[in-house]
């Protein structure tokens, strides 16, 4: 129990362990952040040093808020890669160059607290489902359209990730049999067609094939400057080549999203990541493309919403791991 009028409250430490930076925060049971901070990961270092930095980051937050470890329910860590949640071991993370790192054991050298481990995309989905875009429903799915497509599945307000904690790799479902080669080893993965990277690739091709398109003006003729917004900006100005890029991109995105619906029928699909920032410019035509693919219109449909947790998703989701267990 806490001190100074906090006896009725319990707080959670959440750590978003990324390849570039480590973010940590103290979060209340509703998912509100009281304090947060970050440091450089220095991923080339031994894991004991990295986890030492995490402990120091957490200590700093406790000092800042005047809390002590006895006010804290648990520490949650969200990390890229595949966790062994039961044993608190990070089996593998290419972003961090970690193999079988005993995260829980290591952190318990610093804190006598529960330590929960989770994949970062799953943690973000939990954050949206507790304090974000899908807080009002029990079953939701988050997809983030970034470099790849990450995702998390929430069933009955809890993360579902399969019998071995390795599921919800939503970017790696095949939507194009024998399609583009994916780094995961499969061909035709959803993320090869509907991630931000895929959209950039499609936009660059369209710019090259349509020399008079506004796409080339927007990047001043240097296609390496094209980003995931370029096609949407040019489409908004009525450029035909851009319209075709956006239209085709949404067809791919609708195929993946409808696969999620026909399999899991979540009440909400939350869309985050760079492309998700397009908001209704993306969601309105996506809903239309999904309705065209609907197995039935006799049942309530899945709602498409934008992610709202932003950069806090990792911290809040990791912190809330202790709340859902």
């Amino acid at each position: 129990m806490g001190k100074g009028g906090r006896v009725d409250k319990m707080y959670y430490l959440g750590v978003d362990l990324g390849g570039m930076s480590i973010k940590a925060g103290i979060v209340d049971s509703k998912g509100e952040i009281l304090a947060k901070n970050k440091v450089h990961t220095g991923r080339e270092r031994n894991y004991t040093l990295i986890l030492g930095d995490i402990a120091e980051l957490c200590r700093g937050l406790l000092d800042e808020t005047g809390l002590t470890p006895t006010d804290i329910h648990s520490i949650g860590i969200g990390s890229p890669g595949i966790p062994d949640k039961k044993n608190g071991v990070l089996i593998r993370s290419n972003n961090l160059n970690f193999t079988n790192v005993p995260i829980r054991e290591e952190l318990r050298k610093y804190f006598d607290l529960e330590v929960h481990l989770e994949n970062d995309a799953n943690a973000a989905a939990l954050a949206e489902s507790i304090a974000g875009a899908s807080a009002d429903v029990r079953h939701s799915v988050l997809i983030t359209l970034g470099t790849g497509i990450g995702g998390g599945i929430i069933i009955d307000n809890r993360i579902y990730s399969g019998f071995n904690d390795a599921g919800s790799e939503l970017g790696h479902m095949c939507i194009v049999h024998n399609g583009l080669q994916c780094s995961c080893g499969r061909k035709g993965c959803f993320e090869k067609y509907a991630s931000a990277s895929a959209l950039i690739y499609q936009t660059v091709n369209a710019a090259k094939n349509n020399p008079k398109s506004l796409l080339n003006d927007l990047c001043s003729g240097d296609v390496s400057k094209i980003d995931a917004r370029t096609a949407f900006i040019a489409e908004g100005k009525g450029d035909t080549a851009a319209e075709n890029v956006v239209k085709q991109y949404i067809e791919y995105l609708a195929d993946g999203c409808m696969n999620i619906v026909n399999m899991l029928f979540p009440e909400v699909i939350v869309i985050g990541g760079g492309v998700g920032n397009e908001g209704e410019n993306l969601f309105a035509p996506l809903r239309k493309a999904m309705r065209k693919r609907a197995y039935t219109l006799d049942v309530p449909e899945t709602k498409i919403r934008g992610a709202v947790m932003g950069n806090n998703a990792g911290i809040v989701g990791a912190a809330m791991l202790g709340r859902q267990i």
Copy 2:
């Protein structure tokens, strides 16, 4: 409570309501059938008559086993189509020509018992997970390779079918963007490539394109006699055209199965339906094709097993609905 030494036992009525026949059985809590019977559906009739026949079928089974309604925990109905499970209403079933049929209300005119309603493919998945091929695991998926591809998802030993009971349409995930038109309205659905019907279509094409293939001998030159076994039989005898059919079919099947794995990572995928009867001739190369597609080999893999409940799956799964609630 029951009579005659049955005070410690509880039984379940299960009804498999199909377009052609209605099967019903009395099932114990382990999924063992004590007695079963069936009648012709007569689906052209008003639903009150069909449900009257169901009640009569159930009465007959009670008489046959010497049980009374007080020995029965609940009645479960498995039916094609989309159920409103909460209200016990069958929203729509094309096979039965039913729209908004109040199954529960109707059956309660005959029996003062709980009535549970479920999609028949989901019920079959539950049967396998309680008394069949996946009885040893908590998370499993059943896919049936028949006219289409049906499926059911079991999470934590319970059916999962989305927020509106309309999920787990596993046959209707897109694996070929802009592929073959499916009756569901989408293009490139899994079942257009990996159902028994799809395999027959692929075999017929191969027979036509390869006049010297054994495929033509096996059907005595009449391709309308080709069935889902033909390609496997000819492959077993070393026919090259048949080998190519089977190989390509397994590539499609592996894409769909691996989508299920990357999303849900069940401990077991149970494969039923006509093509499932091929057993290891199908499963061994399927496992190999799936391993090639695996996102990671650092975690335990999903096991591929054949369905074992056969024609009893519908009765047992429907009966067990009352056990899982």
